[in-house]
Symmetry: C2
Subunit: 295 residues, 2 copies
Amino acid sequence: MSEDIIREESMVDLWNVWYSELHQGRAGLTLKVKQVIYSGQSPFQRIDILETYEFGRMLVLYGSIMITEKDEFVYHEMISHVPLFTHPNPRRVLVIGGGDGGTVREVLKHPEVEQVTLVEIDQMVVEKCKEYFPQVACELDNPKTRILFQDGAQFMAETDEKFDVILVDASDPIGPAEVLFQKNFHQNIYNRLNEDGIMVTQSESPWYHQRTLRRMYENLRSIFPLVRIYWAYVPTYPSSIWSFTLCSKKYHPIKDFKADQYRELGISTNYYNAGIHQACFVLPNFIKKAILNRV
Amino acid sequence: MSEDIIREESMVDLWNVWYSELHQGRAGLTLKVKQVIYSGQSPFQRIDILETYEFGRMLVLYGSIMITEKDEFVYHEMISHVPLFTHPNPRRVLVIGGGDGGTVREVLKHPEVEQVTLVEIDQMVVEKCKEYFPQVACELDNPKTRILFQDGAQFMAETDEKFDVILVDASDPIGPAEVLFQKNFHQNIYNRLNEDGIMVTQSESPWYHQRTLRRMYENLRSIFPLVRIYWAYVPTYPSSIWSFTLCSKKYHPIKDFKADQYRELGISTNYYNAGIHQACFVLPNFIKKAILNRV
């Protein structure tokens, strides 16, 4: 090289990539991205896996954060342990969605569970999570785990199997998971639960998605005798607060909470504990007003 | 005009301004800004008031969100009602910081309070909040409110007054509020509390600022006989979860909770309620592990 190349910048890092997930294009979370690990298209949706500086590896489906390494524990513990420490003998568990495997991992911390069936529409999600999130997908090859690559709504309409606990670990009500928020699907779940069965569905943000939550709550109350909303703090979900709706044919999540079994089992959790099992059902007034019409 | 001006854009809105508050420059909240209402410099700090699309009007001190119209209720209710529904007869209340007036507004919902003293270092914050946040600053001219424009740490070191409840409504431990997180200040608070007094201080994010919270907790435990951390979901604060630390000489926030008085008083709140008063002290495991070294 005969001539020096003069650069204006000295030693600056020119890679300055941000992932932002916005609510109605006007507010949201923004994360600095270290690296794009994978971007592809399955038959059902766009799949991206990014490495972020603050939350580690992150799975994004159709532009919406599903899990991050650093905070996935909250959602997966809360959708699983609340119903499984309520039902006295959850032997057969069904997970609709949840292809990342985090919910299955938590379900299998319960020794009474004989089989967990995962019905995931998108095989590529499972494959990519096994490859890039091994600590989340770690129980997908467990002999107790049965995976069916099938539309969850269609499975619920056609199966004649019965379950003790059904967990609806759906993505958002846009994209392939839309049917998993509809009343017909919830009626089918009721029909496929044993007579003392419990269902929990994720039910979106009680801060940003109050109309969705309210409609789901009203639909579910017309199907199940006991319906209770609970919530958790999830840093990377829209608004960072997330709701779950528990629907039960018989058992009460507080009165029938298996506190002794929780203590004896000594499972390792990073959010859930015996106090949280009860406190999570206590709703701030803004949620009560918006969803229940009372304080 | 003899010639047409050709523009590349058709009817697009070219104002596309975003306010982002980042944790360590790599993750945070981003808000679309409708308008900058005020920007100025007081003797102590930069003050900005922005109109955001999602959270309404917003007060920013030295680049850090203090309040927004839409979610300020959470912080102000939670710093106030937890101690004031614990102390049986809170007549004299002191607020350190809190120049926006939101904490004073909540304190004065308690009829036993005879006087609330606000010690705010920055007179311009009070003036601007009276002008731009009248629904927050609404009780600053109440005859029960006494405002002193003075350094809070200096006031605590020099006063010989005594208080039933002291609320440390400080901004972050960078900038003018740094001394309000130090042990010497907390010892002075202990000395100026009556023998059955209670102090609550905001204690930063239990997700992002665990070292700060842990150090505060340990310092406070060396001063007060009873120290309890509680938390709330605050959408626009860093990580959207916030902690408060309650320090008491005599009363226990759960055992001495005035549930009857809460019901009789019928105050209007949008987050706090009798269930939250108790549930907010239940900590997720990740907080227990980081701060208390146990689950």
